[in-house]
């Protein structure tokens, strides 16, 4: 499904918090005229990201709106007038390969352009590009494993923008000071593997690694293990094994920021579902209502029962479609009514299939029971905090037990208890 560029909508709603960390602070006021690419909210604190206007027009209001998470967040609403960009952004599609910026300038540019991880976590990229004192990094891994079934936006990017992605990878390598990068791609995307393997011959130190198809390989720790055999310790970060992981979508955004001075104001969103008439990958401006995306895909099928923001395994169900696309919106999946409800819960038959499915080597049945019975010490001892909530256990369970619901509850409680303990 090739990427289709959608027209600029009549109005956009841009939340000031589209990333992990502190919300940005609005830098415009009601009635201000803004241009495309202009900063409208600035990063506040260490972990935060700039937010830019994705359109040109007039700020009509700044108020809390319900976003894709279902919570109210402060957002800047802009009525669109034309499409006038600020100066200094290279909007051409010409490839710029030569990296002229220094390490520090690259990191600074990513901060300025509001680049965040587009694989799902939306962690500010500039922070991940800086290796903290005491840590070393010897390798970059580019995540080309589409994190979830249904989503194809990364796949398209690897085919349509291969050189840009590779240039983005070499920029991140330069920032990290490493000479080696591996792009992990699952074997069910042979066209992407062939394309990038061919193109990467012209890039020093970048190789493509085909991987067996296995959910949840898009998880950072699983990908590192699959590509290098290194195991990130429990509770640790990739840097504990000298690795940084970035998504292909992020690599592309970094390329655009560093080589083209283009802030993160648009992204590719997959819109799909069994009964969707014209599923596709759409390039949209941040802040475009999800409703517009659904219209572009042929409208909402009559028997739609559930709409999910993200993938079917980890995505969030939307209560409303009148919510804006944000930097972290990777896909919109429309499920028909009959697939949108849970099946009857049966007793656990101790088949152990959840344990076999768990990529972290946990025992979901045990964690789920521990959480249900509020045995939080037991849950902590059994490493409930290692759970990455991939949903493989609940998917596999023949008794349809809501394993992840309980584990999520238990994990949140255990993490709160750990924080309380540490602050004492």
């Amino acid at each position: 499904m090739p990427v289709v560029v959608l027209p600029v909508p009549a109005s956009v709603t841009i939340p000031v918090s589209q990333h992990i960390g502190a919300p940005a602070v609005p830098a415009v006021a009601k009635g201000d005229v803004v241009k495309t690419g202009q900063v409208i909210a600035t990063a506040k604190g260490f972990v935060s990201a700039n937010i830019h206007s994705s359109v040109s027009g007039k700020v009509s209001k700044i108020e809390p709106v319900i976003d894709t998470t279902g919570y109210k967040q402060m957002a800047v609403v802009i009525d669109v007038e034309g499409d006038e960009w600020i100066e200094g952004i290279d909007r051409s599609t010409d490839l710029v390969r030569k990296v002229t910026l220094s390490r520090e300038q690259i990191v600074e540019r990513c901060l300025q352009c509001g680049i965040v991880g587009l694989g799902g976590a939306t962690f500010p990229t500039n922070i991940k590009m800086t290796v903290p004192a005491g840590k070393t990094c010897d390798m970059l891994i580019i995540n080309g494993v589409e994190c979830e079934p249904y989503l194809t936006s990364d796949h398209r990017l690897m085919i349509e923008k291969g050189e840009e992605v590779l240039t983005g990878a070499s920029i991140i390598m330069k920032a990290l000071g490493v000479t080696k990068a591996v792009i992990g791609i699952e074997a069910n995307k042979p066209d992407a593997i062939i394309n990038l393997a061919e193109l990467s011959k012209n890039f020093d130190g970048i190789t493509v690694q085909p991987l067996k198809v296995r959910y949840p390989q898009g998880g950072e720790k699983q990908l590192i293990k699959a590509c290098t055999g290194r195991e990130v310790p429990s509770g640790g970060l990739p840097l504990d094994v000298n690795i940084v992981v970035q998504n292909v979508g992020t690599a592309f955004a970094v390329y655009e920021a560093v080589q083209k001075n283009k802030p993160l104001i648009e992204r590719v969103v997959t819109v799909t579902g069994k009964k969707v008439k014209e599923p596709g990958n759409f390039m949209v401006r941040i802040g475009t209502p999800v409703t517009k995306l659904i219209e572009a895909a042929g409208g909402m099928p009559d028997d739609t029962g559930k709409i999910v923001n993200g993938g079917p395994m980890m995505g969030k169900a939307l209560a409303l479609t009148d919510v804006p696309v944000t930097k972290g919106t990777s896909g919109i999946i429309l499920f028909p009514e009959e697939e949108s409800r849970r099946e009857e819960i049966m007793p656990c038959i101790r088949c152990g299939k959840c344990s076999s499915a768990c990529a972290m080597g946990l025992e979901p049945w045990l964690l789920s029971v521990a959480a249900e019975k509020t045995m939080y010490e037991k849950a902590e001892a059994e490493k409930i905090t290692d759970c990455m909530e991939c949903g493989a256990c609940a998917y596999t369970c023949p008794a349809r037990r809501p394993l992840l619901d309980y584990i999520r509850l238990g994990k949140a409680t255990v993490m709160r208890k750990i924080r309380e303990r540490n602050t004492k």
Partner: protein, 333 residues
């Protein structure tokens, strides 16, 4: 845009496997052994099976309806599996009232008193079988001899099982080679041409069903393969040490309830360990105890006891044998 959307936490998809499908998969895997049983023992096999399945389902239904007063769950298929396995573990000429007692013990006592499906510590069909063996020792050990399809039921010609002949003969000081002449050949035993419980005799049919379950991922290879290997290895060593006092490993693998036990009884999800490592330990335990009982115990056959004894260790195995945690071995850098 007037749809009201469902909202729930992820994951938003579920796999195709359900408890019901798994249970009916086991039922399907038992079909070859059932067919073999009807072929060898005739109408008796059908009567015993129907009685057992109907009474197991009825007991579950009645207990839930009148004692527990909960929603009935008989449609999950687990009572049908228990009924089939109970039938497979008794002679094909067993009087019906004994089968009904077995069903009451299996489902009513061994399963429902613990809270129904998923909560019973011991394999229900085996509890029923052992209860009957102790309560009706004569009726439970008068094995009909395979005689092709016939309509006779209670009046079947009976004889001892190969394990019985072997055990009795060795006690009387006869040699293995002399005893081997009194029992069917290995090939006959492989096809099931010998006395025994109605569903346990046909090794070939049971292996077929077991392979089907492994192929369909209903069970994994761990439990059946370790049980069979352990029995083969243990009896192999004994046989190698003194082939006149101990029967050969193939004899042991093909006789008694070993095939049925290894593929269908020991692999019961509820009463077996949940990790592959735990399954291997459990399988070795069953194999060792089986050979100990067969060789030095009071009973000629020990698979049922071996499985029940190891069932008791399952909670411990689940507690101490953990999957390998991701990232455990690496030290913080």
């Amino acid at each position: 845009m007037n749809n009201i959307l469902n909202v729930s936490p992820s994951p938003h998809q579920a796999g195709s496997e359900t408890t019901r499908k798994l249970m009916y998969g086991v039922v399907f895997a038992l079909v070859p052994a059932m067919a073999a049983s009807v072929y060898y023992f005739g109408l008796g096999a059908i009567i015993v099976t129907l009685t057992s399945v109907i009474s197991c389902v009825a007991v579950e239904y009645l207990v839930q309806k009148f004692i527990l007063k909960t929603k009935t769950s008989v449609s999950d298929g687990s009572a049908i599996v228990t009924g089939l396995l109970l039938a497979f573990n008794v002679p094909s000429n067993l009087p019906l009232y004994i089968i009904i007692i077995g069903a009451i013990i299996s489902v009513g006592v061994a399963k429902m008193t613990f809270g129904g499906l998923g909560n019973n510590p011991f394999n229900p069909a085996l509890v029923g079988r052992v209860f009957l063996l102790i309560s009706f020792p004569v009726k439970m050990t008068s094995w009909p001899v395979p005689s092709g399809f016939k309509t006779g039921y209670l009046d079947a010609v009976t004889g001892a099982t190969p394990l019985g002949i072997m055990g009795e003969g060795l006690k009387n000081g006869e040699s293995v080679s002399a005893l081997m002449d009194k029992i069917p050949s290995h090939l006959q035993m492989f096809y099931g041409y010998m006395g025994g419980s109605m569903g346990e005799v046909a090794a070939a049919a049971l292996i077929l069903g077991g392979l089907y379950m492994i192929w369909k991922k209903i069970i994994t290879w761990h439990i059946p393969v370790t049980i069979l290997l352990t029995v083969a290895l243990f009896t192999g060593i004994l046989w190698f040490a003194d082939p006149d006092k101990f029967a050969d490993p193939i004899f042991h693998i093909l006789t008694g309830g070993l095939m049925l036990g290894a593929f269908f009884m020991a692999t019961d999800y509820v009463t077996s360990p949940m990790t592959p490592k735990g399954m291997v330990i459990y399988g070795v335990g069953i194999g060792v105890i089986t050979v100990l009982i067969r060789t030095w115990g009071a009973y000629p056959e020990g698979v049922s006891f071996a499985i029940l004894i190891m069932n008791a260790f399952v909670p411990l195995l689940n507690l101490y044998i953990k999957p390998r945690r991701f990232g455990k071995e690496v030290k913080h850098g």
